[in-house]
Amino acid sequence: MSKTTDALLDGTGRFLDDRLRTARPVRGFLRKIFPDHWSFLLGEIALYSFIILLLTGTFLTLFFQPSMTEVVYHGAYTPLRGVRMSEAYASTLNISFDVRGGLLMRQIHHWAALLFMAAIMVHMLRVFFTGAYRKPREFNWLIGIALFTLGMLEGLFGYSLPDDLLSGTGLKITQGVLQSIPIVGTYGSFFLFGGEFPGHLIIPRLYIIHVLLIPGILLALISAHLFFMFHQKHTQMPGKGRTNTNVVGAPMYPYFMAKTGAFFFFIFAVLALLSTFAQINPIWLFGPYNPSGITAGSQPDFYMGALEGALRIMPAWEWNVLGHTFAFNVFIPALLPLGIIFTGAALWPFLEQWVTGDYREHHVLDRPRNAATRTAVGMAAITFYGVLWLEGANDIIADQLQIPLFTLTWIARFAVFLGPVVAYWVTKRICLGLQRKDAHLLEHGVETGVIRQLPTGEYVELTRPVDEETQAVLEYNRVGAPQLPASPAAGDTGEIPAPGTRGPLGRLRLGLNRVLTEGIPIEGDGHGNGHGDGHGNGHSAPAAVTAGEQAATEPAAQQGGTDGEETGH
């Protein structure tokens, strides 16, 4: 580096350090290690989509008029000239046709919203299937669920703003659902809309919620999410030299900075490319909102599809009791399915801790196959959501596949319950099969294809042990959890069951434990620790791993016993 640059850097560094004492913390920041894996980029996609949403959204606010005042259109789009419409719709047409780059920004904004939600979904699945939500990262898991829920709301309100026929129909559905909620629904609807639907207040109200309230909360939650991730350090995939007490990867400066910057540009480029060639939400084709009109094949954005499907799949159940209406056909599908998924997801880390008795910190990720039951539960949830999501487009599917619409809905009504069961069972079998394959690889090595004849005349195929990296990956955390204080075997040997396993709740816990820790043990492990768990091993899979063996199976367990936390039972 040149003398001038040196002097400049030196001067800047001194200036900052004299005032803020930055040398030590910033050095730590620059040397922070980021583990590398393709799946760690999913959250970054969501983050960068959000930034792009803020940038393009700010541009759109410069031109958009959140007003339902009626105007007559005189803009560039000739088919709608002379048509009465709200200012919101007219200004959206102006953004599309009269503002240079306006259409591009509008389309990037919409595509980025879809990418934001899609990335959050896939990121959450990654976190779930690899067990990244486990202690100490439960807060970030809960923040993620909140971000996803808020993102749905933000998207719904956002695509309602142009006040075109499609978005107005979506708003009418939203209003109908709100109105169906027992006791408070009618009042909620009148307060939100400032009276009867559609009124003249909903667009300005949704606008301020969409551009200030929810983005503010999202920004705060995302900051907390990133801060926790940074503070707790990133998880890593199992591998040679990677333990629960280290982080292996490239440093923040210059590697991660350059890579993540490149990734931001890449996402911006992809969104720009999509917005150049793939038209999205051509509101000028739908016309202004009118409660008498509708277009066939109305579809919400994809992240609302499961809610839409739930509304379509529900039988027409409604009660009238003592002068009041329980519209089960509306508020049950609107609240229950996603309620089950989000509540279940939020409780899962704590349920898993209680069932497995595993209260330790986890920084090395599980391979999904090694947590067969968790993976199976996740696949069941995906199937449940997926059936509802597909049902949200049942008219289009029926049309494309030439299946009668009613038949398709009946199929979905059964599939939404049976599908998850099948998915659970199939996934679990596949996971256990993969575990068995891994165990076989570890015990017998890789087949070389070399056949040798023994002196006895017998033919055998030579095998070689797997390489160290593969061995480290295969061995890590084979059966995800330690045993409960008293395993089922304890009863057989006449030991006194531990307090946590008595009573109906304790029996439930033991039963769930057996299911949750099911896995294929690695026999004849080469670590020389024997089967020292003292429980008369050999009855079932969960007994194969104890806390002691756990430590030993960790590759390069150099820190022996510094696993920190008491397991806390």
Binding site: V99, I173, F406
Partner: protein, 359 residues
């Protein structure tokens, strides 16, 4: 950054001037400029007795010829990005919008320029990282997140002392009156939201239809005689005369009329409310309120395009399939002195989706 603790690494400490051992730190009088050595944040000059600390990151990548080639590619990509950005600005200035074709052209060129500008930067930066930077893998130790028992005890002590000093635990009167003061304060913002909208009252039970009000065909807004609507199997949307531009009224009052051949209309259709086989139903779906816009004349099925609730138009619009729980309400029809179709009253039940007070 509060990250200092966490990012400690098992790496040799840097030998910046601020980390000189105490004994070697230059002594100086306050107010005089520090010696040159202490002013640099960079490596200490070599040859002063201590060997330079080993580098954590190599200065050069392993494959130098490859790096040389990569450098040229990266530079080319960055130049491409620069040209694309200039192109973006040029297209912004040069390409008119204001027509559909102009907008399409502008969108295409601006979008392409933007994609190339960002894409070339992205690819260039990736090649830079992969081939110009030496590949490293560093290990950072991870400390348990939990504080030590001693730190926790210190915290507990500080917290308890503070609580005691504040008297919050001991002075019940202060504590309870404070809590009593915050409860109504928390209610105030909720009360403030009251004026966001009027109370529902009975507004959901009525529509704009009144006795004698003509049916206007939606769109052209013309009244209709039964003879103008003579072909069985048709469905048209009508709105109340005088409310054709009132969206709030249309949201409830929009109605469909259907023409049936004699004898086709069956109970529970109220035949007294029909005129010459013309029957009128609310267009607002009883599920969540979409307009029921699709009509299949061979089966007399009215289908809501939103959630596929299906109603039998010949039988009082009763529900045949789908999530709607109630038939579409029927509007009583008649004709006025001039022979035009009119409503003989408002709907006799609330139209549209269910609500708690509906009963």
């Amino acid at each position: 950054m509060s990250e200092t603790e966490g990012s400690e690494q098992q790496l040799p400490a840097g030998n910046g001037a601020d980390e000189l051992p105490e004994s070697r730190a230059p002594h100086r009088v306050i107010g005089t400029p520090p010696p040159a050595r202490a002013r640099t944040l960079l490596e200490a000059p070599p040859g002063e007795g201590e060997p330079p600390a080993p580098r954590e990151l190599p200065a050069e990548p392993a494959n130098l010829p490859q790096a040389k080639r990569a450098e040229r590619v990266v530079a080319a990509l960055f130049i491409l990005s620069m040209l694309a950005s200039i192109g973006f600005i040029a297209a912004y200035v040069g390409l008119e919008v204001g027509t559909v074709s102009g907008t399409a052209r502008s969108n295409l060129v601006l979008g392409l320029a933007m994609s190339v500008a960002f894409g070339a930067l992205a690819v260039g930066a990736v090649i830079w990282v992969r081939f110009l930077m030496p590949q490293v893998e560093l290990t950072e130790e991870r400390k348990p997140l939990a504080s030590t028992p001693q730190q926790r005890a210190e915290f507990a002590k500080t917290f308890t002392e503070g609580a005691e000093a504040s008297g919050f635990a001991k002075r019940k009167l202060v504590r309870r009156t404070l809590i009593a003061a915050t409860v109504p304060l928390a209610l105030a913002p909720i009360v403030l939201l009251r004026d966001m909208g009027p109370l529902p009252g009975t507004s959901l039970r009525h529509t704009a239809w009144r006795k004698g009000m003509r049916l206007l065909v939606y769109g052209p807004n013309t009244p209709l005689r039964p003879a103008d609507f003579a072909i069985p199997g048709q469905m048209i949307t009508v709105v109340p005369d005088g409310y054709q531009d009132n969206l709030d009224a249309l949201a409830k009052a929009t109605t469909i009329i259907l023409k049936f051949a004699p004898g086709q209309l069956l109970p529970p259709t109220n035949l007294n409310w029909t005129v010459d086989g013309i029957v009128a139903y609310s267009k607002i779906c009883t599920h969540v309120g979409c307009p029921v816009a699709l009509y299949e004349q061979t089966t007399h099925h009215i289908l809501c395009p939103c959630h596929q609730s299906t109603f039998d138009a010949a039988r009082g619009a009763k529900v045949i399939f789908g999530p709607a729980a109630r038939p579409l309400p029927q509007l009583p029809l008649g004709t006025d002195a001039a022979g035009y179709l009119i409503a003989t009253s408002d709907y006799h039940e609330p139209v549209g989706p269910s609500f708690w007070e509906r009963g």
